[in-house]
Amino acid sequence: MRVLVIEDDRETAQFLQRSLRESGHAADLASDGESGLSMARHGRYDIIIVDRMLPRLDGLSVVQELRGSGMRTPVLILSALGEVDDRVKGLRAGGDDYLTKPYAYTELLARIEALARRPAPEEQETRYTVGDLVLDRLSHKVTRAGEPVLLQPREYRLLEYLMKHAGQVVTRTMLLENVWDYHFDPQTNVIDVHISRLRSKIDKGFAKPLLHTVRGAGYMVRDGTD
């Protein structure tokens, strides 16, 4: 996928470009808000990563301009400002996700991959299927190999989020934000325990596990054969 990185710090920008290439993505760089905006308008990008503080035109204004001209390319805002208010401002300006510096590259990668493949609201599926695991979003029923799996409401939402991003790495922070709506970092790794509970409900007794731990990054629901 083609990524536009609008970031004024050369070293960070080059680190991102190199890392994204290693992950199999093409990345273009812009070092200020104005050139970033014109590149975003004229190039065809799958995702735009924009730093909040930029010379000439700040990140939020870039996003507002883009959205104002009708562009719907997903935008991830990077910022050193990480309070709730800042995040709300970023999302209100038209950003799709907000990541606070310093961040881990794996976190950034997981988020942009999730964003780029996010379907538009009107084409959301009513049913997620991974291998023989089926989640029906209308009846809120989950079955594995045809057998019903009984889940608590939160476990259901956890699985729903994981299955929506099947085949993609989902980080703990992404789960906390999207399933619990928390933007802080609990000291204990509470997510791991929730995942292991969920795993015991959907994978226990089956030869092929579907819920995988991705070391150093997060989790992934994936049919092992693909």
């Binding site: 990480g82 309070e83 709730v84 208010d85 709300v88 606070t100 310093p102 881990a104 939160r154 619990w180 928390y182 933007h183 802080f184 970092d185 609990p186 000291q187 204990t188 509470v190 325990v193 929730h194 292991s196 509970r197 150093g216």
Partner: protein
């Protein structure tokens, strides 16, 4: 600027001066009017007396001719305080009267007027002022009837001088009082300026003096002092943050560096390099977490997030946190019990309250784990409760861990304080201080209590948020 020019330029002095000006003008007007009126009255009286005299003498003359007139005049001048008379014959020779000669001022024309004369009995021969009228008496005689006005004139002159002096005295007293009052006020204002300069120069503990009268300047000093106290508090918080960063972040930073150095020196192959790097990254992540917490606490203590509060349902917010931690508690062999009262509303920041309660539950699990297995067969409990208490909402998290000794409780709420017993456990030591900062931001408080055994932390938040707490403090 000299002290005097400062005094003269001061607002109280200029006010006093303006008041003085108006006052003196008014006084001069009043005194002037009184003098004018008195003069008028006295003049009228003199004219009346003269008229009566003239009428009386004419009657005498008509009744008895010149001889009678002369006799009456001689009779009258013998009385003390008499009028002035001068009767002369056609040749201008004096026939009778107490004036030594015909006053030249009256001889010229037929009109009456002011003339001067010398009193016969006065050895100093000082000329005195008088008012008189010349009368032509049939038979070629001339009669001058006059009235001494020297005393009146003297009196009027004295009056005028007294008035002048009074006004001058008033002006002097007024300016003097103005200067004194200005100096008093100026001194107090100078004290305020002086105190502010000292404070600006770096002594933030200084305060503006007040004289205890409760007047405007005192109230101003109170406001300024409250502001200074807040600035000092913020500065102290800032200093503490930088001190803590210096002291407590240096240790993990050093550990990080050592780890990288060791990996570089000892690594035998790619695998151990990799291992070293992973450990370095983990260490860096921990540092970032600590740093974020520190920044958050500092920001909360700056009071910058107050605008993001909205009414929340505390039972559901705390229920969510309990649900998040329930599996962790169970895995640690603990029972997490929630007794949350429904139907309450709390004006607060959901995210921060969640984080604060999460920290409390996290701590409770961490410290209860220590005692798991040592206390009989029953699984230890952690109880989360929520109840309204007197306009506040109290959220309590109670465990049966080792607890905190009463003398250590206050210290435990401070940043980075990790009591000796907990040194072996992971954590930055910022958990409780973050809870305390969240409480303060909401206008609430944190209490540490004994749970017999264990610790009970009570987070008390005002129902209507910090603004509500302020309101309640005003009205009580």
């Amino acid at each position: 600027m000299t002290a005097l020019t400062r005094l003269l330029r001061s607002i109280p002095f200029r006010l006093a001066l303006a008041y003085m000006g108006v006052f003196i003008l008014a006084a001069a007007l009043i005194v002037g009017f009184v003098a004018w009126r008195a003069n008028q009255l006295l003049t009228t009286k003199v004219i009346e007396t003269l008229t009566a005299e003239v009428t009386g003498l004419r009657e005498q003359f008509q009744a008895g001719g010149p001889a009678r007139l002369t006799a009456v005049i001689n009779e009258r001048i013998a009385e003390p305080g008499s009028s002035l008379y001068f009767l002369s014959d056609a040749a201008g020779r004096k026939v009778a009267g107490n004036l030594s000669r015909l006053p030249p001022e009256l001889a010229a024309g037929g009109q009456g007027g002011v003339f001067s004369y010398v009193r016969a009995s006065d050895p100093t021969l000082r000329p005195r002022q008088a008012v008189g009228v010349p009368l032509a008496v049939p038979g070629g005689l001339t009669l001058i009837v006059g009235r001494d006005i020297e005393d009146l004139r003297r009196f009027a002159g004295t009056m005028g001088q007294v008035a002048l002096w009074s006004v001058a005295l008033l002006a002097v007293i007024g300016i003097g009082a103005g200067l004194l009052i200005s100096r008093g006020v100026l001194r107090r204002i100078d004290a305020v300026s002086e105190a502010s300069r000292t404070i600006m120069a770096g002594d933030l503990s200084g305060r503006i003096p007040r004289n205890g009268s409760g007047d405007e300047l005192d109230r101003l000093a109170d406001s300024l002092n409250a502001m200074l106290a807040r600035i000092e508090e913020l500065m102290a918080a800032l200093r503490e943050v930088s001190d803590n960063i210096a002291h407590d972040l240096k240790t993990p930073l050093n550990r990080l560096r050592n780890r990288a150095e060791a990996a570089l020196r000892d690594a035998s192959g790619p695998a151990s390099y990799r291992d070293g790097l992973v450990k370095t990254m983990e260490e860096a992540d921990e540092l970032i977490k600590t740093f974020n917490s520190l920044l958050l606490i500092a920001r909360l203590e700056g009071g910058a997030i107050a605008e993001s509060m909205s009414p929340i349902d505390p039972a559901s917010v705390i229920g969510d946190v309990a649900e998040l931690y329930e599996p962790v508690a169970e895995e640690a062999g603990l029972v997490l019990l929630s007794r949350l009262q429904d139907g309450l509303t709390l004006v607060a920041n959901r995210e921060l309250v969640s984080q604060a309660v999460a920290n409390l539950v996290d701590n409770a699990i961490k410290y209860s784990r220590v005692t798991v297995g040592t206390e009989g067969s029953e699984r230890p409990q952690i109880a989360i409760s929520l109840a309204p208490v007197d306009g506040s909402i109290e959220i309590a998290v109670a465990d049966h861990g080792p607890g905190i000794a009463p003398q250590d409780r206050q210290r435990a709420l401070q940043r980075f304080v990790r009591l000796e017993k907990s040194r072996s456990l992971p954590g930055s030591g910022l958990g409780l201080s973050l809870v305390a900062a969240v409480a303060r931001l909401h206008g609430g408080s944190v209490r540490l209590e004994d749970n017999n055994p264990g610790l009970r932390v009570v987070l008390s938040l005002p129902e209507h948020g910090p603004a509500g707490a302020l309101q309640a403090a005003w009205t009580s």
